[in-house]
């Protein structure tokens, strides 16, 4: 039991913990757990606040919004060329006998404030803090471990490598649309080909790069 508290977790414990996070998050919040997306939103603070304000205004004036949407729908229909308009009207009539449509859900799409997203990022750091404290490993460290120091040193060269690595992660995750959690766990679990591809790409690259570092540094 003691080694569970101080040593690294056996694979099955870690597996369960990560699965609990991935599934539990999605189940209770309705959206998949992903960190790279959150970084993206926090980095675009001002745009996020603007978009959120618009979404809140839309939610507050739901009735008026719907009225405008309906009026515009009719105008857009009128603006269609004759033949297309007839086609759309026919399709509308055909669908008329469908059972009553569902009203838009009251849980409207108002995104969280970037401050709340930042709090989420902070909570991950706090998790690390608690883990280090509870296992007796917390210490103020100015290195990244023996392996890292052996490869990249400890001073400005190491800082630069970390920054460049961060750049790659920042650009790569935005480009690929997810990270180890978003693609690696959630995406793959949904059997999504995009996630298979992304995961394969990043694992393969990380492996190859690590072998190269080991050989050269």
């Amino acid at each position: 039991m003691a080694s569970l508290m101080t040593g690294y977790w056996p694979w099955w414990l870690g597996a369960i913990a990560l699965a609990v996070v991935a599934v539990g998050y999605f189940y209770s919040l309705g959206i998949p757990c992903g960190v790279s997306g959150v970084f993206g939103r926090v980095a675009n603070w001002r745009e996020e606040v603007q978009a959120r304000d618009t979404e809140m205004a839309m939610a507050r004036n739901a009735g008026q919004v719907q009225a405008q949407m309906m009026a515009e729908a009719m105008a857009a229909l009128e603006a269609l060329p004759e033949e297309e308009r007839k086609q759309v009207e026919a399709e509308l009539r055909a669908a008329h006998d469908e059972e009553a449509a569902v009203a838009p859900s009251a849980a409207t799409a108002v995104r969280p404030h970037p401050a709340a997203q930042l709090a989420f990022l902070a909570s991950i750091a706090i998790g690390g803090l608690l883990a280090a404290l509870s296992s007796g490993h917390w210490a103020l460290m100015t290195d990244m471990g023996a392996t890292y120091t052996a490869f990249f040193g400890n001073g400005p060269s190491a800082w630069l490598i970390l920054f460049v690595g961060g750049l790659c992660v920042g650009v790569g995750t935005q480009m690929a649309g997810g990270c180890t959690l978003g693609h690696g766990i959630t995406g793959n679990s949904s059997l999504q080909i995009g996630s298979f591809a992304a995961t394969a790409a990043f694992f393969a690259t990380a492996v190859i790069a690590s072998f190269i570092f080991q050989a050269l540094l």
Binding site: A57, V65, A73, M74, L92, H96, P104, A109
Partner: protein, 63 residues
């Protein structure tokens, strides 16, 4: 094949509420071809920001 952005489109669920609003769906969402006319799709396809209150025909909902 319907518009590929449907799963995350904030307006799509409104288009299901009544017959008049369903015409939006028919005009812009139901087929690949028609979705290419959607202003929201065009913008996001080009990597641009899409205001939450922009309709498929490019007009903005007044708030």
């Amino acid at each position: 094949m319907a518009c590929s952005h449907i799963p995350t489109c904030p307006l799509f669920k409104h288009f299901q509420s009544n017959a008049t609003l369903r015409s939006w769906k028919l005009m812009y969402c139901d087929s690949d071809k028609r979705s290419r006319n959607c202003e929201r799709y065009k913008r996001s396809d080009a990597g641009e920001l899409v205001p939450p209150n922009m309709l498929p025909n490019g007009k903005s909902i007044m708030l």
